[in-house]
Symmetry: C2
Subunit: 416 residues, 2 copies
């Protein structure tokens, strides 16, 4: 099998931890993954083929950033990318030294040598294509190929970085381009949970979750994988195992809906405490008002999340939406400049959004009703409701945020 593994900064955080990663890789050489969606690369005689993507040792990137921002609040991005990329070059090479020291055949490649080509959008470059010829040649020579995450090369020959979560993205993109059998993302958490275990200690690790569910959980704050990596994995159909590098737990498999036999109605509960509510009460109910408002907000670079509009009466309606808390002041300015003709504009910072996510709810009725009943039973007032095919989101008062998560977690028996 061809396996792409990715180890984050915490997993690479010290000599001892790099040694642990080397041991883990050594075991992976002859391990069988629990699922295989491709079989073309299987090479039973010589064990698995491994491509290992690494982040910088934890602390190193922060240290570089500290230096850079000591000179200016706006370091020039081309040189910033060059300095940042040195962290992964160091960690990748050190891991390869550790692997060689164990008698394994290993080689470290930077973004250029791995053939990861990006656009020239420094500090947040997008991968344009991956020339896998070098990696494939090295794999067929029996090398474990260690690749610097987070970085690529622009067509101008400049070093670029991929932005937040960039090493995950490197791993998923390499797995896609190499048609790997699986992509294992190692961090300090052992998978995706039904909800944040710091809020609900009864939260359980999810064995399998679909890309779409993961996207909803990721965008709502689950920290295992960022949205863009999940999107890429979905697009290229790369099965991802989210695992801990500090345990032997099998982790969570993120895969297509078809690969999940028993679809739970609800997979997890997400919480977002980073939104503020904006309500336009008594807006004139005529076409174009909403369109104009949201295009103005968009032009001001304000990310609107939930939008709810109720049926009007007497030619008036209510329009509620949420924006990130740190963009609320910008939103107020935009709204002041916009003639909404609303009777009242109301803002509320003290809110949270709890969401129920699950592919099973597509084919089940009564899912929402159960949520509303559970919330009502504990006197949690639901201020806004918004639903999609696999998600039900509720805006509630901030003080009820954690309680709301626990209530919903129990209502759908996620602790069982």
């Amino acid at each position: 099998m061809l396996i792409v593994q990715k180890y984050g900064g915490t997993s690479m955080g010290s000599t001892q931890r790099i040694q642990n990663v080397a041991n883990r890789i050594s075991h992976s050489l002859y391990a069988h993954s629990s699922t295989a969606t491709h079989t073309s690369n299987t090479n039973a005689q010589n064990g698995n083929k491994l491509v290992v993507v690494v982040s910088a040792m934890s602390g190193v990137t922060d240290e570089i950033l500290q230096h850079a921002y000591a000179f200016t609040p706006t370091p020039n991005e081309r040189d910033l990318d060059m300095s940042l990329s040195s962290g992964e070059q160091m960690s990748a090479a050190l891991l390869s030294i550790a692997l060689n020291a164990k008698g394994l055949k290993s080689i470290a490649l930077n973004g250029r040598q791995a053939g990861i080509f990006t656009d020239s959008n420094h500090t947040k470059a997008r991968i344009q294509y991956i020339d896998t010829s070098n990696i494939k040649a090295l794999l067929s020579e029996g090398y474990i190929v260690v690749v610097t995450g987070f970085q690529g090369l622009s067509d101008r020959g400049e070093i670029t970085t991929l932005g937040r979560g960039g090493s995950d993205l490197s791993a998923v993109a390499l797995a896609g381009a190499l048609k790997a059998d699986s992509c294992e993302i190692y961090s300090d958490v052992d998978g995706v949970y039904t909800t944040d275990p710091r809020i609900e200690s009864k939260a359980k690790k999810i064995e399998r979750i679909s890309y779409d569910e993961m996207l909803e959980l990721a965008s709502m704050g689950a920290k295992v994988l960022l949205t863009r990596s999940v999107e890429l994995a979905k697009k290229w159909n790369v099965p991802i195992y989210a695992k801990s590098s500090f345990s032997e737990d099998s982790g969570t498999l993120i895969t297509t809906e078809e690969n999940i036999m028993e679809k739970p109605i609800v997979s997890g509960i997400a919480l977002d405490k980073n939104q503020a509510r904006v309500s336009l009460i008594g807006v004139q109910d005529k076409p174009g008002i909403a369109a104009e408002l949201f295009s103005k907000l968009s032009k001001a670079n304000i990310n609107v999340d939930m939008i709810v509009q109720t049926i009007g009466r007497d030619f008036k309606t209510n329009l509620d939406f949420t924006v990130p808390k740190n963009e609320l002041e910008k939103a107020k300015i935009t709204l002041n400049e916009f003639d909404s003709n609303a009777d009242l504009i109301d803002y509320d910072n003290e809110v949270a959004i709890v969401s129920i996510v699950g592919v099973g709810m597509k084919s089940h009725s009564g899912v929402a009703a159960k949520a509303f009943q559970a919330m009502a039973k504990d006197n949690i007032n639901i201020r806004m409701i918004s639903t999609s095919e696999i998600k039900i989101s509720m805006l509630i008062d901030l003080k009820y945020a954690e309680l709301g998560v626990r209530v919903l977690h129990a209502a759908y028996k996620l602790d069982q």
Copy 2:
């Protein structure tokens, strides 16, 4: 003028120190160097053109080495080079960020981008050629070009490092390839001294010194510049200013003999406490003995320094030589296996070599006599004597090492 500057690890050792280097570079843009051997690059309207070569921030390289050697006493050199080179990539990029933050147009290049091509001899690669096209293009666009020292790219596309003193070598090689007007090597010492100021506090900074004298002083332990950088500078006729990045001192100019008007008879006194003496007493005085012995020592990778043979009598002679102290045991083994027919083989670890270096002694007589008289006056017994055109070396007992240096320093009035 086109100036190549090199800043060592101590000069780059913190955010504040990188800021100081940026300030110094900023001043250099419009400064006039005290000598110019080429004038073709002079660009009075736009100030000087600057190429700045940097080492890794002090401590970074040691940290990387510590990690690498924690895995194995013999890290694989290809990956070691990749990890080591990250240090300069970080420091070069950070300096360029600092320069940009000051409103200067700057760009950082790694070895590949700077066009520094080496052989594949990892950890001690030799520069094969420098493709200056990229640097020249950037200079003509008005950039200050910051280049990672110590590293290059092999024709296999691998990152290589140049070994000890590699950043100096990068700077001298770039200065040669670019036909720079001067090469300024900044460190934490402000130039070359008549002798080690820790031994003789009256030691004086030398204003100008020839390449050959510098070579003799460098090989005897003067730490300002390593032999290979001086050799390269001599070969390519690159004038070097050895300066301190912590002072405004004009430093020492290392140049051709012709550029030194008043040639002092003696320029400096060197001390080497790292040699051990080997004496073959009463060796058969027949052809081929010395040849056979020294070829055997060479095969055992033992670096012989001083060799002295006295005229024999009664078909017997004495043969004395020195080897590095840490190679003495190897030398003993070689000698035990070699049938020298000597009456006695004597070893002495407790010795030191003091040397008088000066181009002026070529044309002056009595230089050696003065040394011998001075040593005799203070009862320092000279065990061996060896002379070259510009150097007189004396092997003395280790306990007299520092005294010998001071005696000679005074004898040639180097403190005046």
